[in-house]
Amino acid sequence: MIPELRKVSVVTEDLVHDEDRAIDGGWRTVVAAAVIANPWYGRGFVENLSPEALPLADSLGRLLAEQVVAGLGGPDRLQAYGRAAMVGLGGEIEHTSAIIHTPSFGNAVRSVTGSKSLLYSTNSRATAGTCVTLPGTHRDDDSLRDYYMSFDIVLVDAPRDDEIVVALGGASGPRPFARLGNRAKDREAMAAEAAAGKDDTTGERA
């Protein structure tokens, strides 16, 4: 048990219909959020955050990854993921970074998911009831455009001033109806346009 932990909130969404059409098999997203007491609250400026941050990073990374994987139905069902941390008004943004921007957090997550990619993230400070947004990418290859996505979670009573919300999100597949091509196709089209004398790559006529 993590002594600082107040609660764990897990939100699962099954999107079955969007853009006026059914999604074959549905699209599942899971966001798990832990609400912890901010270990640096009320202590003024703390130079070295590591003693408290590293054990929390490891235990929270593991806890949240287990929740997300369970919600998706197994590690192989996790195809995209991302993270975020939001501190209450009595804390510093650096407190959120200290916990999630460490290899301890990412490695703990990857030890559960078996994935390879770095986790994209947001770090913010806000009142309770603010939407926490997590940027997502593919689990193994963060160049895959179809897997750039976002997860949202709102906790109506967190973070309090002396708390931090740490969240991990996952998805069962690419964005539904993803149809924006890829980098290679963009380059090909832009090269063809340049060759035809209408270079639009800067948004202005060449």
């Binding site: 107040r6 764990v8 897990v10 699962t12 099954d14 999107l15 219909h17 939407c131 109506v156």
Partner: protein, 184 residues
């Protein structure tokens, strides 16, 4: 017209501490399962007889969300308190939200599957996208259990749109942690 579900939103909480104390031996669990459905009366103006679409849509939406609630909380025996709520989008009459959850066609699905006998407490309202949906709960067999008067809230950031209704059921694993209200 049949029921059209856009998505199912499940918010489960495990609460380990309250009022500065640790909750032993197990965390307190609450869960809200909400379906984002198309308002079947959207754009029809004032409809006098809601019953035909209630018969069609109310049990259908209950069949989507109630089994999921049981699954998330670990079965009927793990649910001690329950409740329901609906939040209509801008284009909904409050009566539309009420129609989907206030009849036996909806309520009996939850009562039967959760093994409850009492009526259910509820909220029905209209709100903007990302409005807070609040579900009041009472003990499933005895509404006089004051400790089981508990509340769960959920926010779905992209619902309900103007033509949608958020329909929810909720359950809790037990009384409020450290319930100590006394007196009449």
């Amino acid at each position: 017209m049949s029921l059209s579900v856009r998505k199912v939103h499940v918010a489960r909480e495990l609460i380990y501490r309250e009022g500065g104390r640790s909750i032993e031996p197990e965390p307190w669990r609450t869960c809200v399962v909400a379906a984002v459905v198309k308002n079947p009366w959207f754009g029809l103006g004032y409809v006098e007889d809601l019953d035909p679409l209630v018969r069609e849509c109310a049990p259908a939406v209950a069949e989507v969300i109630v089994p999921r609630l049981l699954e998330e909380l670990g079965g009927a025996e793990r649910i001690e308190a329950y409740g329901k709520a609906a939040l209509g989008g801008d284009g909904a009459a409050v009566e539309h939200s009420a129609a989907l959850i206030q009849t036996l066609r909806f309520g009996n699905v939850l009562r039967d599957l959760a093994g409850g006998e009492t009526y259910m407490s509820s909220t029905c309202k209209r709100g903007a996208v990302a409005g807070v949906l609040t579900v009041p709960m009472i003990h499933k067999n005895d509404p006089s259990h004051r400790g089981h008067n508990v509340t769960a809230s959920v926010v779905v950031p992209d619902a309900p749109r103007g033509d949608e209704i958020l329909v929810a059921v909720a359950g809790a694993s037990g009384a409020r942690p450290f319930f100590r209200q006394t007196g009449p």
